[in-house]
């Protein structure tokens, strides 16, 4: 049994698969926060009662976020192929998956950020205004700091979602564990390999969850 696992492990280059998945998830989580976080912040700030209310911008952002969240990822994955080719040069492999994964996660991150900041007591924001902080300082020193533990948990949620998405991307030529599952489990009906990949993905998700939960608890002073 143990021998068999090791055999499969080496045969399918499992380490390489794990590494590719980790890279895809890490890079696209990072990029989706880079873009989704400011969108979420802007949404909260432009909302009624926000730091700089602006109905038009708020409605447009809300629409885009909702639209983005409504599109099933598998469809986005296919639909973005030409766009990905255009900016990356390829639509397959690890590199080719970064674009759809990032774009798929941006609306999620934006909504997550929005919810995080809405949870912060309005009174704390008003107190900060009275202490002389300008809008920029409130975003930087109040929203982001007070919401930080919550955002850490959000990173974990996003990364876990992206592990799932990246596995899905195996179906259109993405790399990583999803690719191994498709190649061996789907095309070659290799049940053992399939099972091992599933266990590895579950472990990966578990590790992400534990690490970020520990981190969030260490940081959270509330």
């Amino acid at each position: 049994m143990f021998k068999q696992i090791i055999e499969v492990w080496n045969n399918v280059q499992m380490f390489n698969g794990i590494w590719e998945t980790v890279v895809m998830v890490f890079v696209s989580t990072f990029l989706s926060f880079l873009i989704g976080l400011p969108i979420g912040i802007l949404t909260v700030c432009t909302d009624k009662g926000g730091l700089f209310p602006c109905k038009v911008v708020n409605k447009i952002l809300g629409f885009i976020i909702n639209l983005g969240r409504a599109i099933p990822f598998i469809i986005l994955l296919v639909a973005l192929i030409p766009f990905t080719r255009l900016i990356i040069g390829t639509s397959i492999g690890v590199r080719g998956m970064i674009v759809p994964l990032t774009i798929g996660a941006i609306p999620f991150v934006a909504r997550l950020t929005e919810n995080t900041f809405r949870e912060i007591d309005k009174g704390v924001i008003e107190a900060s205004q009275c202490l002389g902080l300008n809008n920029f300082q409130i975003i930087l020193k109040v929203y982001l700091v007070e919401g930080f533990p919550s955002l850490i948990r959000g990173i974990s949620l996003t990364a876990i979602m992206l592990v799932g998405y990246s596995a899905m991307s195996g179906s259109v030529g993405g790399g990583g564990l999803g690719n191994i599952a498709i190649q061996y489990g789907y095309y070659l009906f290799d049940r053992t390999t399939m099972l091992i990949v599933v266990v590895v993905i579950i472990l990966l998700v578990g590790i992400i969850q534990v690490i970020f939960e520990i981190l969030a608890r260490l940081i959270d002073k509330k």
């Binding site: 007591d121 009174g123 704390v124 008003e126 107190a127 900060s128 205004q129 009275c130 202490l131 002389g132 902080l133 300008n134 300082q137 020193k141 109040v142 700091v145 007070e146 930080f148 533990p149 940081i219 959270d220 002073k221 509330k222």
Partner: protein, 246 residues
């Protein structure tokens, strides 16, 4: 001097119209401890929020040193606020920062240099009796200690006016006495104008010089504390004084 004249504030929502403040006229002299007392829902917090520019009045003006502060916006509003220390109902401390950093923030944004910030924070921490708690986070402090942090944060910027919204209503009677003593000490030390909003008559009787009674958005009575207490005119005042049954 704070001169509030013909101030009114209406809240209008889809299915609600509230006259929270109705034609308020008040003069608060520099250096006095002024109490505004009223039952819950009388409009006290709304008045305080208008005083710091968090609410725009529907009508009327608030002149402080010849400036109508209800008209201020942006950086002018921030400049006005830099002379005002506010202690909110419910503390409103930054939960993810320790006591020291809660006090440091208002100084930092004023670009005060490190040494001066350190001295000022140490001075205030000593004044409010929070020595040894510098590194503690608000979640680990008692109600009284949190209120001390909130007061310290309001004072750290050397305000000319200190506004407090129900500073003792969440505290037990002993802690209340300590906080009131602290406010008295602060007033003696800095000679600043102190405006206290409360529903507790004991707060007014123990530290205020003048008082205004607010009921249903209206000032129904105002004057020297002793005069009002010895000869209350309105039912609400009598009620608050415990001289009339509900």
């Amino acid at each position: 001097m704070i001169e509030i004249s013909h101030l009114s504030k209406n809240f209008e929502t889809k299915d609600l119209y509230v006259e929270a403040l109705k034609d308020i006229n008040l003069t608060i002299n520099d250096g006095s401890i002024f109490g505004i007392i009223g039952l819950s829902g009388a409009g006290k917090s709304t008045l305080l929020r208008t005083l710091v520019g968090l609410e725009k009045p529907s009508d009327g003006s608030i002149y402080i040193d010849d400036v109508d502060i209800t008209k201020l916006k942006g950086s002018n509003l921030r400049k006005y606020r830099s002379n005002i220390g506010v202690v909110f109902q419910g503390y409103n401390l930054l939960m993810q920062r320790n006591v020291w950093n809660n006090l440091d923030i208002p100084l930092r944004v004023r670009k005060i240099d490190k040494e001066e910030r350190k001295n000022k924070i140490q001075e205030i921490i000593k004044l409010v009796g929070l020595e040894g708690k510098e590194k503690a986070y608000p979640a680990n402090l008692s109600g009284g200690q949190k209120q001390r942090v909130a007061i310290a944060r309001a004072l750290v910027i050397n305000p000319k006016i200190l506004l407090l919204d129900e500073p003792t209503s969440a505290l037990d009677s002993i802690t209340t006495k300590q906080i009131l003593k602290l406010l008295k000490d602060i007033h003696e030390l800095y000679h600043i104008t102190v405006l206290i909003i409360t529903h507790e008559i004991s707060v007014v009787s123990s530290i205020c010089h003048q008082v205004a009674v607010i009921n249903d958005g209206e000032i129904v009575e105002k004057g020297e504390v002793l005069d009002i207490f010895n000869n209350p005119q309105c039912d609400v005042t009598k009620l608050l004084l415990g001289k009339e049954e509900i």
